[in-house]
């Protein structure tokens, strides 16, 4: 059985429809010795998320899970040992359930979803668990890396490409219209929208409490995100240091921080989901990854999205909701400018984004999907939504989803 060749019409998807059943995540923490997860293992974070999914869906017999795909950028220590498999075992899934580890830096969990979803669409799996984890406190970005000297010698990429903050400064150079004022204003709005979403209970139901341990304080319980700084003003942001360049534009305030956290989701063949009584929160329409110059990795979502529009026949006007990862405000604005979307457009990151809640690299993709799925439930007037993110070493990834609750445009 082979799917029809491109181009696909929006309604003509692969052999089988892939459903996003539900996603959950741990509260995100600040990386480092003082962070709430300083004494918590990375694998325990993702195991908590997987167990929560199984608890929420007693209608899913655990032995029906055909694959566990877990992403981590730094696959060593408590993020090593083929974490998809070990997390499955630690979560108490039957030994017959396989698992694998996957890495596409910031888009790890997104790739876990697209890869597992492809297997479902193709007919290799009925049910899969996909997610990601990054404990940047235990595994700082760049831990143990050994870049090939030819990368510099052969001028394959600019030396700034491996430092994400510098790639963001480079993006400002490319798009002079994106000023620091605009990024700071965007960042303050992200904090504000996030705080409002927490207050109104939009963010919260997807969180899994995690026991934390500190030698001095004893056990605790993480129930909410640690990174947000509610009440942040543009004025405050204006005065922050620019660590990547003297008189630069990137600050700790208009970028996501260094964070710890994990996500997990259940994906299912839609028919299997209906057979088992699993809810279908989103239907996968298509996905695309694209490469860009690594030194301006933040532009990645633009070509990834253009490519996906070509493949699906959809256009920017078809997308009713956007969840775009906020690694840097500049990178979000570059995307919005490209597609002619206003900085304050309510369709984009309506519950705030990673600038507020944090970005534990390989886990973030499923956070975007989890939020989009919850927004779909509230918005039967929206048919298509998009999750998109930029990816280190110069890539972008975009996934378009269809809202099964769509009742027709209002």
């Amino acid at each position: 059985m082979a799917a029809p060749a491109t181009p696909l019409a929006p309604t003509a998807r692969g052999v089988r429809n892939v459903a996003f059943v539900e996603g959950v995540r741990t509260p995100f923490g600040k990386a480092g010795d003082k962070g709430m997860y300083a004494g918590t293992r990375a694998d325990d974070l993702v195991v908590n998320a997987i167990r929560e999914l199984l608890r929420r869906h007693p209608e899913l017999p655990p032995e029906r899970v055909d694959e566990v795909a877990i992403a981590a950028t730094t696959q060593t220590g408590d993020q090593g040992l083929t974490i998809g498999r070990t997390a499955a075992l630690l979560a108490g899934l039957p030994k017959s359930v396989p698992g694998f580890a996957i890495d596409r830096m910031c888009a790890g969990a997104m790739t876990a979803v697209t890869t597992a979803a492809s297997g479902i669409g193709f007919g290799a799996y009925d049910i899969a668990i996909a997610g990601g984890v990054e404990h940047m406190g235990r595994h700082p970005m760049g831990e143990g890396v050994d870049p090939n000297p030819r990368i510099i010698a052969d001028k394959l990429v600019d030396p700034t490409a491996l430092v994400m903050g510098q790639t963001a400064e480079n993006l400002h150079d490319r798009f002079p219209a994106i000023t620091k004022q605009r990024t700071d204003a965007y960042a303050a709005r992200s904090q504000e929208r996030y705080a409002e979403a927490v207050k109104t209970g939009k963010i919260g139901p997807e969180l899994v409490p995690v026991a934390t341990r500190s030698a001095e304080l004893g056990w605790g319980l993480a129930t909410e995100d640690e990174p947000p700084r509610p009440g942040t003003t543009v004025e405050q942001l204006a005065n922050l240091k620019t660590p990547f360049r003297p008189f630069g534009r990137i600050t700790a305030g208009n970028a996501a921080g260094l964070n710890d956290g994990a996500t997990a989701s259940i994906l299912a063949d839609e028919e299997t989901a209906r057979e088992l009584g699993l809810p279908v929160a989103m239907r996968l329409v298509g996905y695309s990854f694209a490469g860009v110059e690594p030194e301006v990795m933040g532009i990645g979502p633009v070509p990834a999205t253009e490519k996906l529009f070509k493949r699906t026949g959809l256009s920017i006007d078809d997308i009713g909701l956007f969840e775009i990862n906020e690694a840097f405000a500049v990178q979000v604005l570059a995307f919005l400018d490209h597609f002619g979307i206003d900085d304050e457009d309510p369709r984009v990151n309506q519950w705030g984004g990673a600038i507020a809640c944090g970005h534990p690299l390989a886990s973030s993709g499923v956070r975007l999907m989890t939020q989009l799925a919850r927004q779909f439930a509230e918005r039967p007037d929206v048919r298509y939504g998009m999750t998109t993110m930029c990816i280190g070493i110069g890539m972008g990834g975009t996934v378009i989803w269809e809202n099964p609750a769509f009742e027709g445009a209002k």
Partner: protein, 703 residues
């Protein structure tokens, strides 16, 4: 609460303090915060949380902080894998002041009781090992959850000669019923400190909920919120305080009588307190616990129990006099000479623990096949009981083979003989083995009485011979007497200790002296009892004379179990070595010759009487002794023998004698083996002019 922080520190300056830390946390579903108290002594799970005076003070302060915050609930939990395993025993050993003993008893009650009498709901989150005072702390809370991977759950107090004295005897029967409480506090404790499984703990109703270890604390806190909100109401069973309570107490008494014959005051007191708990009056119950504890803590009997605990848990792990373990050679193949019952038992033990090839040899193919077959059959039994997986059973069976040709031992690293107990036979076996084995291969003997030095004397490499004396049944009894011959070298001895450890035995180094430790003492003891019978003491008077010691069985029953022929043989060997002290009863010789197996016969109702044929053949004198006289003579004999053994250097210290008797003969833990009893009862002083142990070692230290 009577302790101040300073007084607590002064009471026990070396305490490894388990600190209690209160943290106010948000829990989904609750508006008010929860006060979560973590118990943590700052060490990893190999040094579990315990309670000493400072730990109790810390918990009390943590409770002050918790109550002051007026939380939705108060919960207590432990550090990873450990909740708390009870009172700090090394602290108890140091107590020499009766007032301090009372204060410790009282303080535990006062602090724990705050959780019981709290108007704020209290929860014990038992996240790992929970014993004694730790379990009492959990029981003091209103509700309890348990982590599914908890490895140790018990009230070991009665096993140690104590009783659960921080509320255990009062709270447990009123939670789960008197009969179940008797099982936990009395029966399990006196069955070599048997632990409860998680399943049993839940079924008995000791805990309200069990959660998986992966997110135990998270789920416990969410469960707490539902209990506080009234969504879950944990069930409490109805307690029958009438006839069921009577029956439970009667059962407790019969277990205690059967196991201790009233010789362990801790066990007796536990029964008394369980009876008192029927009233469910914590004031009276706790006061009685405190009184009992204050008295018991200052008794030498209890100190003997703690002494045993240290012997088994510390001394047995670092055998006195064993050479540096780095000298040990690897053992990758084992040979066993003989394929009889003992050889088969040894083969099974070696293959299960070492998982290396084990070759049995014997004089003919039929015996070899039978020996290998019986090991394979035992492995199949383990498979049927699911103690082994099919793969593991296949692996072990493939490792056990038989051969008629001792050339099969050419690549063995360790060969043990289990042939007939006769020096000439054993010498011949070793001489033959030396034709085949590597020069450094260990030659071990499971002799129970013969000289290792004599056995090695004719070999080219006598330095590789060691005694490796197991106790029957080999799979069960934990003691291994490792005997050093005159020429045994350090590397061989180190290898023997390393093998002993891999076999999960507690090894004691013994000098090459007739019958080593356990058999020598048991035979001296039995011999003295038989002498009194020969003199005219009735069998039952002689045999029951030692009941107050709480031994696992009477001397004559022991003889029956070991086999009179073996007892006679070992007795004869000892007589040759020490004719003055070890007599060979002519009656016993007649008895063996007549093919008798035992003195006692039991009727259908289980009543014992002396076999009339035995009475007939036993020629008795006309000088009967009273049971006191028999006991006195037997104890004097044993005190004398131990002193001689120590003077001869058979073992390093009296502690090793006690360790051997506890682990090899099953002598009661709470009695400290035997030397604390001999010291305490004045026998040592009378017979030898001095005690075996310095004051404080197994007795209350001078204040």
């Amino acid at each position: 609460m009577t302790f101040t922080a300073e007084a607590a520190k002064a009471a026990f300056p070396d305490e490894v303090v388990t600190h209690a830390k209160t943290r106010l946390i948000k829990v989904p579903g609750l508006t008010k915060k929860v006060a979560l108290i973590t118990l943590d002594n700052g060490h990893d799970h190999t040094r579990p949380n315990t309670f000493g005076p400072q730990g109790l003070v810390s918990l009390n302060a943590a409770l002050d902080e918790a109550f002051a915050a007026e939380p939705a609930a108060i919960a207590v939990t432990g550090k990873p894998f450990i909740f708390a395993v009870g009172a700090d025993l090394s602290g108890v050993e140091a107590v020499s002041d009766p007032e301090l003993a009372r204060e410790i008893a009282q303080t535990g009650h006062d602090v724990f009781r705050r959780l019981t009498e709290s108007s704020i709901p209290t929860f014990g989150f038992v996240n790992g090992a929970v014993m004694g005072g730790g379990l009492e702390l959990a029981l003091s809370c209103h509700y309890r959850t348990l982590s599914e991977n908890t490895a140790a759950i018990a009230f070991p107090e009665v096993f140690l000669g104590l009783f659960p004295g921080w509320g255990g005897t009062q709270l447990l029967p009123n939670l789960i019923g008197a009969d179940a409480a008797v099982t936990v506090i009395i029966e399990n404790a006196l069955a070599q400190n048997k632990m409860l499984t998680v399943k049993q703990t839940a079924e008995l109703g000791i805990v309200d909920a069990v959660f998986g270890s992966a997110d135990y604390l998270e789920q416990s806190l969410l469960w707490l919120a539902r209990v506080v909100n009234g969504e879950i109401k944990p069930e409490r069973r109805e307690i029958d305080r009438g006839s069921a309570w009577d029956a439970a107490i009667a059962r407790a008494k019969s277990i205690v009588d059967g196991r201790t014959h009233g010789a362990s005051p801790g066990a007796t007191k536990a029964v008394e307190l369980l009876e008192l708990a029927r009233e469910n009056d914590l004031d009276r119950g706790y006061a009685a616990e405190t009184d009992g504890l204050a008295e018991l803590l200052m008794s030498d009997v209890l100190r003997a129990g703690l002494y045993s605990f240290n012997l088994v848990n510390k001394r047995a792990k670092r055998p006195a006099g064993a050479p540096d373990k780095s000298l040990a050679r690897k053992v990758n193949k084992v040979g066993i000479v003989g394929a009889g019952l003992m050889a088969s038992q040894l083969a099974l033990l070696f293959v299960r623990r070492l998982k290396v090839p084990v070759v049995l040899t014997d004089v003919d193919q039929e015996r070899v096949d039978k020996g290998v077959g019986s090991v394979h059959a035992e492995i199949d039994k383990l498979l049927a009981k699911k103690r082994l997986s099919p793969d593991a059973a296949n692996r072990l069976k493939a490792l056990v083979t038989g051969s008629l040709d001792k050339a099969a031992f050419s690549d063995a690293d360790f060969v043990i003989e289990a042939v007939f107990e006769e020096l000439g036979v054993k010498q011949q076996v070793f001489a033959e083995l030396e034709q085949h084995v590597k020069p450094e291969a260990i030659l071990a003997t499971n002799t129970s009485s013969l000289s290792i030095t004599a056995m090695a004397s004719k070999l080219q490499h006598p330095e590789r011979v060691v005694g490796f004396h197991f106790f029957n049944p080999v799979a069960v009894l934990p003691l291994l007497e490792i005997v050093r011959g005159e020429q045994t070298d350090d590397a061989s001895l180190a290898t023997a200790f390393s093998v002993g450890k891999q076999l999960k035995k507690s090894s004691v180094l013994v000098k090459d002296a007739s019958a080593f430790v356990v058999n020598r003492l048991l035979l001296r003891f039995l011999g003295e009892v038989l002498v009194t019978v020969d003199e005219g003491t009735p069998f039952d008077v002689a045999d029951k004379a030692l009941e107050p010691l709480g031994l696992p069985m009477t001397p004559l029953t022991l003889m029956q179990l070991v086999g009179p022929a073996i007892a006679l043989h070992v007795g004869e060997t000892l007589h040759e070595s020490f004719p003055d002290r070890f007599t060979v009863s002519e009656n016993l010789a007649k008895f063996v010759k007549a093919g008798k197996k035992g003195v006692w016969i039991w009727d259908a109702r289980g009543n014992a009487s002396a076999d009339p044929e035995v009475v007939e053949l036993w020629t008795q004198g006309d000088r009967p002794s009273t049971s006191e006289q028999v006991r006195d003579r037997a104890l004097s004999a044993i005190a004398e023998e131990i002193r001689i053994m120590l003077d001869e250097g058979v073992v390093a210290e009296a502690q090793d004698i006690d360790l051997c008797l506890i682990l090899g003969a099953g002598w009661p833990f709470w009695n400290g083996g035997i030397t604390p009893y001999l010291d305490r009862s004045g026998v040592s002083e009378r017979v030898n002019g001095k005690p075996f142990l310095a004051p404080g070692v197994a007795s209350v230290p001078a204040s």
